[in-house]
Subunit: 204 residues, 4 copies
DNA sequence: CATTAATCGAGACGGTACGTCGGGTCTTTAC
DNA sequence: GTAAAGACCCGACGTACCGTCTCGATTAATG
């Protein structure tokens, strides 16, 4: 907001970064061992040794705390595989699948479904956790179009949804497993969707 | 299921269908006016006049009650449009989008995310609400293959996910609106995915 | 019961005396093993195999059932000891103390305190369980007066209370044990209260 | 008990005395207007505006709350009437009778009968409400013996029971009214029991 | 170095809802 | 036509967390 963020050195004890970290750590542990349903502010306070009011000073409710706890260890960008478009998508989808085909995957879906969709924290969570991969896909496609590898698609939003939605769909519905084959198939069909000449099968 | 469902007339007072219906009705009203977050067994009991223990006799928890309440008024099958494969998909997707592009859509996602994925009720809910449309799509595709309209696709599971996942993805993430254009685009891309000769878009 | 009970042959299933007895038996068992606090109509029904509505057909509430269950095995009249007034009282008080210095004693106090004091069953219980001994005492005193052993006391009601109240007082308050010494002391003081010439100590 | 009761200043928010008082006040009101049978924690919470968990933080169950509510407004010590022993007993018994010949009297009996006899609260209640008058009587008797007014009785426990039990007996059994005549008669007979020369009745 | 002020932990507060127990009534089938 | 079984509505139970609010204890920057 202000261009000069050198906050006027306020008097009194500054907020403790350690408390914040302890709460996040405890939240991650509870998520890992007991699940989202068992995570309560009370439990986080008890496990972390941080007082409840301190937790409420940092997060508005349990959902926001959980979101922040889940926003670490995200699948970093795929390492810019030199290959073509499908190659790039394949790499990213493998990373994504590996990152979400765990307990955390369902937790992400749960917290997303349970949170107030208008909250700032929820928006940030959606962008960082869900949509960032979609945006990465968009840039891969646009780069391929720029390079003449494919024609620029007209309905890119729907295509992006078709590529990235199935992962969360399987996560939520659980009708089929999520594994490397799944990422492979998605990448291949994405290629077919983006350009007929993409005659590059799943690794020959 | 069994051919002889004449259950042996059990002793004692039979469960009241009226109580069951009153509870479901109250649940639907609360969902419509206050949302899933405000729906509690207590509130359903108060609004319906049905006792709490009676509600617990019928459903194990609020999630199961909500699932059953949401399982009515589903988008019936598309009316067997005489046209080709894409025409059939288009009709179904329009119905689906119309059915879920409402408050109920997000509620379905929320209750699904929040429920015990192993519960029988959750499984029934997933099949009736989420997967039934997917299965309908499968039968459309297989009929088209049978008719020689398209080649039989190899990865039909992934294709089905790509067609039906985006609706729930947008529902959950909320990054883009859900409307007729969306159904249109999905049907068109589905056609492209299923057969090269699908030059039968809505645009010329 | 009687050999010539030619009841007008009423239609339908006759009321089962067995059900009544089974319920009373179950109530006694629960009183003995779990106490008055754990006795509920539900528990009696479960243990006895008698239906709840049947129990309610016989007793208005748990209190009345308990009262009837406790009204058996009461201390019979003392065997008319040939001796004087104090001798008679002593015999009766020993019987009383023996009958109430058990778990049942406290239960009698509890059910009496908890019951609706206006109910017919409560009145019957009070007369049979509490006041019958007091009335026996009255007749002993009046016989002694008749025989010239003592002067007829003026405040006989208060004297009767002073003789019979302490047992229930100790039962309720529990500040001192209830045993033979207690009966002995009561009888002796009762004699002193009733006539100065009653110079007959506790068995010389 | 400990001579240094400066309790170590505990951390955290201290219990609110106001909440405690509000709950006790509501309990007294319910006792007065609806009776012990209608008193539930829920009702106390609703009437007092105090939360249910707060009530449970202060008392283990309804019985203990009621006991504490009943422990106020006790019949203070009789004002040390200058007269002799019987005069002292008479004064105290009149106060006692006046204090218990009300609805509260039966409530005291009910709560005492219904409470766990081993609970600390029950013990305190018995001592403060029931036995304190008995102890006062003991000190009156011992003072009279010290002063040579009477011989020291041997069975003082039984005598004390005979003096103080009838009040609670009538309360519990309800066979006779409790009024000034009753107190009068008790005092007179107590005098007769304690010493032959107690020719100081209220009559002549 | 003492003061001061904000944050910390602890924990009680008024609440809401939970899931369960038992009360007393009513309905259905069996005897 | 009564008995059993058992579901009904209802009230209350005692507990878990919620999010807020005092408290005494800590801790840094200020004076």
């Amino acid at each position: 907001m202000s261009q000069d963020d050198t906050q006027p050195p306020r008097r009194g004890r500054p907020p403790s970064k350690a408390a914040r970290q302890k709460a996040l750590m405890a939240a991650r542990e509870i998520l890992a061992t007991q699940g989202f349903g068992r995570l309560s502010i009370e439990a986080v306070a008890a496990r972390s040794g941080v007082g409840k009011p301190t937790i409420y000073r940092h997060w508005a409710n349990a959902g926001e705390l959980v979101m922040e706890a889940l926003m670490s260890d995200l699948p970093g960008r795929a390492p810019a595989s030199g290959g073509g478009l499908v190659e790039g998508l394949r790499g990213q989808l493998h990373l994504l699948v590996a990152a979400f085909a765990t307990t955390r995957g369902r937790q992400v879906a749960m917290v997303l479904a349970a949170s107030d969709p208008e909250s700032e924290m929820t928006k940030a969570f959606r962008h960082r956790v869900i949509l960032s991969s979609r945006e990465h896909g968009r840039s891969l496609i646009e780069a391929a179009a720029q390079a003449g590898e494919i024609d620029r698609p007209q309905d890119i939003e729907i295509i992006l949804d078709m590529i990235y939605a199935p992962l969360f769909y399987r996560l939520l519905v659980g009708h089929l497993p999520i594994g490397p084959d799944f990422a492979e198939g998605l990448a291949e069909h994405a290629g077919r969707l983006l350009g007929g000449n993409a005659a590059e099968g799943p690794r020959a």
